[in-house]
């Protein structure tokens, strides 16, 4: 058992993604039924690397969206009804939706849009630098097409989605040096010229289709989103669906044309520079390789049938390891460690002879494979040690795996020694050294694990122990390198030989290392929650496992059984040999050792068939749907299936139609999914008969455009653009871009830029660039558009307009002044030369700005909000409601003004107090400028000059709270305090009716602070009705669940309304703190994280949309009174170090508190007098304490 266990753990690890085809024997072993569950377990989520108790793959390889077939793949067994394999020709490009751990990928062939399963070992990742932008654009395009609803005219309306593809093609042509028709390369090479032309025609055709879509959209939009069961609308929908399908196919064709164009370019290059062996793509390849993933073959030209597969076999590293997650999620240190070690092992493995042309169980290969595995385990282990994030179980597992794989390696060394006719002391010494090192490592680990006290936390492995483990592990690496090198020398001397490695011998060594006690630890210590975290994953695996293992034993219709055996147990086919390029039948050894056969023969033999060093991968998991009744795909119900697809991306996998089907069913190629493929493998692959009825035939798609249209596209290609430097999310919203790309979008010629984008840009540009760099970028835009005469004028006008808007409404002299000289210069020279009028006007503006104080054009109140404010305002001619002020109240105010005693605020009508408070606050609120809310100015600035109005707002609110508390605590009589509380509850209620949530928050806060809440006797005098009112009001402004209630109220609140500004200040703070300021594109470009600024702007707009004054009559005297009281409260607050503590002391004096109160209420103690005395000290004697007084 132990043997098996130990071995399995080493098998299921995907070490470093250095599985070359020859080392995959170990994986093949795990296909045996009893290990299938662990085999299917997906890689742990990057966040919790110890999730499954086993070592998780520490280098999460990049998921490759595109693969290119290196060999033709025309399986004979496609006949199976439940499985669709995708025939490939060498050179085909495939868009990958998911990759199963067994190495089969679900993909769409771009050449004809068909979808099915394909073996990844026939392919290599495809992402050459030249094509990267175009490929990225296709992914965006695909995401957009599948995710947007048809009525989303905003997306389809402005054709933004086309820009990426155009920019991608342009980038390709530019990199290839073929941007213009006249380029020397094209002049010289006619094939290249024709290929370029056909690429451009394809693009033209796509652009035209998208215009048709736009038109169809418009007519549909006229219908106005009618009900779905409307037959006419259905027809329209269908027409649009067809258009979308057509566009997707055309986009695919652009890619394939682009690929063949690039192939020609490379061919051309290699002809001219025969010595050039590394194409331009090498840089990208290197980067990919660093992430432990596939590397693209150095050069590949399908036209050259002489492509030598064996030279590439090392590049065929396992596509089946490409599980989705992003490498940057990995912690840096572990990644660095990993890279180093993987580099070592890769180098070593390249020393070995390429595998595909040789027998597979050569000892040298086994040696290399074992060495790779061992090193990668050690690498993972060391990487984790340096992270200091070590739990005991994970440590145990890591050590166990390292030692087991080390054991494997030792077995190989022993075999070589035994086989060798000559005795090599060097090898034996090295072997002994290595053996001792591994023993050291294991015993170090055991000491660490056993010395830990049972009660200690998982993380409590002290640095000292870490050091020891680190030492032992690095010792292992060294000794192993030595040992392997010596062994390799020996092999060279005695000649390589084949050897069938049984599995039985491996575990013995593992036992030698004393692993038994380590083995138990993970099982008992594995915290429960980790399992829970995995629940969803294991559920899916569990549900698969029984069927997989029991299926063969169930007697079934032979035909069905046959089809299942194909679909269940389908290893990846062997790579074709150079002499037989066309793959016919999986070679005999693979067939005979296929796990299904092994399972039939008994598990034990399955285990022993590990020995096979065949270069294939574990079986294709259950693709058949027949054994899963619940998940059956019924071809008769495509529409129902379509609906279902909405709620589960996993299920959508089972519903795959051909690519021409509605794009919305494709939810599988999801780079964010952390369980990429296991879940998807229940998929039934598409039924060939299920192609959509209107799928346009491909031949009909081939373009035949009039020459003028091609010329248009030629012109378009000449437009310099930065569109490929923009980043969009899956909803098609802009989330990032470089400054030139953002500026280009700001001044786009084809479409009016979206209002939110423009306002965000103006508001936040100082956070991501300087005024000078913005000016330069705008001037650059003005310049380069000159290369495209047909759009130069509109773009230049837009550029002028951006300057104009900036100077008129968004100029901030203190920060923007350095740009002024540049702008003047630009206006005087370049702009005036091209557009004299605007040049003149911009110059005038610049002059005005230089002397003006504040912005030239006053900022429109709520200009940022798109809500039609005027609609919601009360009609201007209606008089505001009359103030509710009695004659005597007015008189009291007047006498106060002339030096008399101040009347109490509580003597007035609560409604009027609420109104005047609201007016006063709104005046401050309306003065807040968007700039004050940027970059957390209100917290940073101590002097109050940077965000004066925000500061005034918070000061007002705080003073109001203190004033409320003061008006309650100032009374010694419990009754008067209760009256004050009651009055403030009423005022708060009036504030809520006025939607003044700022004052409401302040008053409610005052009434619920501890100092007030604890006044039990006072509260006893407040009626239940009032208390309930207060409870209701408190619920509105309570902070719980992130101000859920208040947010809901504000969400559709039409002005006038005064929100609680504190909530927005917190939001702004967290938008800033929680989002990085840059993001990295898939092509490695660092761009501005515009999404962050967009969020900031949205938040500010949401706040400032309430900057609409109330139409209420001012009562200046009452406002003066309130101001005076507020000032007094503010001064009182400043006078003491801690106003809240002072209030609390005062409160204690008034009502001394529970201890005494209890004594008071409890006559048994007989200390009534003392208690009474203590709480009456500060009060007066007429308090009615012995009975519940009548409620006020």
């Amino acid at each position: 058992m132990l043997n098996e266990k130990g071995m399995r753990s080493s098998l299921q690890v995907a070490p470093l993604a250095v599985h070359k085809t020859r080392s995959s024997s170990s994986l093949a072993a795990s296909a045996s039924a009893d290990t299938i569950d662990s085999q299917i377990t997906p890689p742990a989520t990057p966040n919790e690397p110890q999730d499954n108790g086993y070592v998780a793959p520490f280098a999460n390889p990049v998921f490759h969206n595109f693969l290119r077939a290196l060999y033709p793949f025309h399986p004979d067994y496609v006949a199976s009804e439940s499985t669709v394999t995708l025939p490939l020709s060498a050179g085909d490009i495939v868009l990958v939706h998911s990759i199963h751990t067994n190495g089969w990928a679900d993909g769409t062939q771009l050449a004809d849009g068909s979808r099915g399963w394909l073996p990844t070992n026939y392919c290599a990742a495809y992402n050459p630098v030249e094509m990267s932008c175009l490929l990225k654009a296709l992914l965006n395009f695909w995401d957009l097409m599948r995710s947007t609803t048809l009525n989303d005219s905003e997306i389809f309306g402005n054709q933004e989605f086309m820009k990426g593809i155009i920019a991608g093609v342009r980038y390709l042509l530019d990199r290839a040096g073929c941007l213009t028709k006249e380029s020397p390369v094209l002049q010289r090479n006619d094939r290249l010229r024709r290929s370029r032309k056909s690429l451009l025609s394809e693009l033209t055709s796509l652009v035209k289709t998208s215009k048709r879509l736009q038109d169809a959209q418009r007519t549909l939009g006229g219908g106005g989103g009618g009900s779905d069961d409307d037959a006419a609308a259905d027809d329209d929908d269908e027409a649009i669906n067809d258009l979308v399908d057509e566009m997707i196919l055309k986009a695919f064709r652009i890619i394939t044309k682009g690929v063949s164009f690039l192939d020609l370019v490379e061919e051309d290059r290699s002809m001219r520079l025969p010595t050039l062996t590394i194409p331009c793509g090498a840089a990208a390849d290197t980067r990919l390789a660093e992430h432990g993933s596939l590397s693209r073959p150095a050069s590949f030209a399908p036209g050259n049938a002489a492509g030598r597969p064996e030279s590439r076999s090392s590049c065929l590293s396992s596509g089946y390891l490409q599980q989705g997650a992003d490498a940057r999620r990995l912690s840096q240190s572990s990644l660095a460690q990993t890279n180093r070690l993987s580099a070592i092992s890769r180098r070593v493995s390249l020393v070995g002879v390429p595998s595909s042309s040789r027998p597979h169980n050569l000892v040298s290969e086994r040696l290399n494979a074992c060495h790779d595995t061992f090193l990668s385990h050690l690498g993972s282990f060391i990487g984790r040690l340096q992270l200091h994030a070590h739990s005991r179980p994970s440590l145990a597992v890591a050590v166990r795996q390292s030692a087991t794989s080390g054991g494997d390696l030792l077995v190989v060394v022993d075999v070589v020694c035994a086989h060798s006719p000559i005795r090599s002391d060097a090898v034996e010494q090295a072997r002994a050294a290595m053996y001792h090192q591994i023993r050291d490592l294991v015993s170090a680990a055991r000491d660490v694990l056993h010395s830990a006290e049972p009660g200690m936390e998982d993380e409590a492995i002290v640095p000292h122990d870490n050091g020891r483990l680190l030492c032992a592990a690095t010792g292992c690496v060294k000794a192993t390198g030595e040992s392997v090198a010596k062994t390799r020398l020996l092999i060279e001397r005695i000649g390589d030989f084949e050897y069938d490695f049984g599995s039985g011998s491996l575990g013995i060594l593992a036992e030698d290392f004393g692993l038994s006690d380590l083995a138990d630890i993970p099982a008992e210590d594995r915290p429960e929650h980790r399992r829970a975290d995995l629940a969803s994953i294991s559920e899916s695996t569990v549900s698969e496992t029984p069927t997989a293992s029991t299926a063969p034993s169930v007697a079934e219709d032979p035909a069905e059984a046959r089809s299942r055996s194909l679909s269940l147990d389908k290893p990846l086919p062997d790579l074709p040999r150079p002499d037989s390029p066309v793959m016919e039948e999986p070679p005999a050894p693979a067939q005979s050792q296929s796990p299904r056969d092994a399972a039939d023969a008994g598990r034990a033999s399955a285990v022993s068939s590990v020995s096979s060093l065949r270069p294939d991968l574990p079986p294709l998991p259950k693709i058949s749907t027949t054994s899963l009744p619940g998940e059956d795909y019924d071809p008769a119900r495509p529409s129902a299936a379509h609906e279902d697809a909405e709620y589960s991306s996993f299920r959508s996998e089972t519903l795959t139609a051909t690519s021409a089907g509605s794009a919305r069913t494709y939810l599988s190629r999801d780079s964010e999914s952390s369980l990429p493929s296991q879940t998807s493998t229940r998929a039934s692959t598409p039924d060939a008969a299920q192609t959509p009825k209107t799928q346009p035939s491909l031949s009909s798609l081939s373009s035949s455009q009039a020459p003028t249209e091609d010329d248009e596209m030629e012109d378009k290609m000449l437009e310099k653009t930065y569109a490929h430097e923009l980043v969009f999310n899956k909803e098609g919203q802009l989330t990032g871009g470089t400054l030139p790309a953002l500026v280009e979008r700001l001044t786009a010629h084809g479409s009016t830029p979206d209002a939110l984008f423009v306002s965000t840009f103006y508001l936040t540009f100082r956070l991501f660039c300087t005024p000078v760099s913005l000016t330069e970028a705008l001037i650059h835009r003005f310049d380069y558009v000159g290369d495209a005469p047909h759009i130069a004028t509109p773009v230049r006008l837009r550029t002028y307009n951006v300057f104009k808007g900036w100077l008129e409404s968004h100029w901030r002299d203190e920060s923007d002044r350095p740009a002024l000289a540049l702008i003047r210069d630009f206006a005087e020279n370049k702009l005036a030369a091209a557009l004299p009028g605007p040049g003149q006007r911009l110059l005038e503006l610049a002059d005005k700005v230089a002397v003006a104080d504040g912005t030239l054009v006053p900022r429109l109140v709520s200009s940022m909000a798109k809500t039609a404010a005027s609609v919601t305002l009360a009609p201007a001619d209606a008089p505001p409601p009359a103030p509710s002020l009695t004659r005597s109240q007015a008189h009291a105010l007047a006498s106060w003004k002339s030096g008399g005693a101040a009347p109490s605020v509580l003597d007035f009508d609560p409604l009027e107090i609420a109104r005047q408070l609201t007016l006063m606050q709104m005046a401050i609120f309306c003065a807040i400028t968007p700039d004050e809310l940027l970059g957390a100015k209100w917290t940073k600035d101590k002097t109050g000059t940077e965000a004066p109005n925000v500061k005034a707002m918070s000061a007002f609110t705080t003073s109001l709270t203190n004033m409320v508390i003061e008006t309650i605590l100032q009374h010694d009589e419990v009754k008067k305090r209760a009256v004050a509380i009651k009055a403030w509850i009423k005022i708060a209620h009036q504030c809520s009716l006025l939607h003044n949530y700022d004052a409401l928050t302040a008053i409610v806060c005052a009434l619920t602070v501890t100092s007030i809440q604890r006044l039990k006797m006072t509260w006893d005098l407040v009626s239940v009705k009032r208390k309930e009112m207060l409870n209701g009001l408190e619920a509105v402004v309570h902070v719980s669940s992130n101000y859920k209630a208040l947010r809901a109220l504000l969400h559709d609140r039409v002005p006038p309304c005064l929100p609680f500004i504190g909530m927005f200040l917190t939001d702004l703070t967290f938008v800033d703190a929680g989002n990085p300021s840059t993001r990295t594109t898939s092509t490695g470009l660092t761009v501005i994280n515009f999404d962050k600024h967009m969020r900031t702007a949205k938040c500010i707009a949401e706040l400032l949309r309430f900057q609409i004054p109330y139409r209420l009559a001012e009562v200046p005297d009452l406002q003066d009174l309130l101001s005076a009281q507020l000032e007094q409260a503010q001064e009182q607050e400043k006078a003491v170090a801690n106003a809240q503590a002072a209030q609390f002391r005062k409160s204690k004096m008034l009502e001394p508190g529970d201890a005494q109160l209890q004594q008071l209420r409890n006559p048994v103690d007989g200390t009534l007098g003392g208690g009474m005395f203590s709480w009456m000290r500060g009060g007066n004697a007429n308090n009615n304490h012995n009975a519940f007084p009548a409620q006020i």
């Binding site: 508390i965 602070v1009 503590a1141």
Partner: protein
């Protein structure tokens, strides 16, 4: 007392406090933010909720961090009232922010009426060692005086962020366990136990929450 994992999830309210500019919002954002979510939206209901596993037990933490509203001094009382555990944050590069902790703790004890409310002290910006203005020894002595754990954390390098929150969580769990076991909590003086119970009883009556 060991608990099985199928017990219902416990929920705790944790309040993050500290002077403005000590980076507490970064600390909180780092803790609650799922790394694989590309952008963080603080305006949704569960922006500040996080399920954590502490010693194998699932706990829902609702974090109240009112960063940005430090000037609303009067509100602090209200925020504190909602908390069951507190993370007191200062910046190791600012002596003033360290000195503010004392007052914060006094307020917490006054408002919660509880001497041994769970508190964790966090010295943030530990990556700015060259700008250190608060001696580690000083922070440790405060930690000992309060009997509250001290972490030096860095939101920027994501050091000790989870650790600090989880430690607080562990304290909350232990406290709840000992309360569930009734007055049997061995180490607690009777006085504080009864006091805490009283507080709890009062809380039930409290019209708020």
């Amino acid at each position: 007392m060991p608990r099985s994992s199928h017990q219902p999830c416990r929920e705790f309210n944790v309040v993050v406090l500290g002077a403005g500019g000590v980076g507490k919002s970064c600390l909180t954002a780092q803790f609650v933010h799922n790394e694989w979510i590309e952008s963080y939206d603080p305006t949704i209901e569960d922006s500040y909720r996080k399920i954590v596993a502490v010693d194998g037990r699932q706990v829902v933490l609702e974090i109240l961090d009112t960063a940005g509203t430090e000037q609303f001094v009067a509100m602090r009382d209200l925020y504190m009232k909602t908390g069951q555990g507190f993370l007191l944050v200062f910046s190791i590069s600012s002596k003033a922010s360290f000195d503010e902790l004392e007052g914060l703790r006094d307020d917490i004890i006054r408002i919660k009426d509880d001497e041994d409310i769970p508190i964790v002290i966090v010295g943030n910006k530990a990556d700015l060692e060259d700008q250190r203005a608060v001696d580690r020894a000083k922070a440790f002595s405060l930690s000992q005086r309060w009997n509250a754990p001290y972490y030096e954390a860095s939101a920027r390098t994501r050091t000790n962020v989870d650790e600090a929150f989880i430690h607080l969580c562990r304290q909350l769990l232990q406290r709840e366990d000992s309360q569930d076991d009734g007055a049997a909590g061995p180490s607690r003086p009777d006085d504080s136990t009864s006091r805490r119970r009283r507080r709890r009883r009062r809380k039930e009556k409290c019209p708020i929450l």
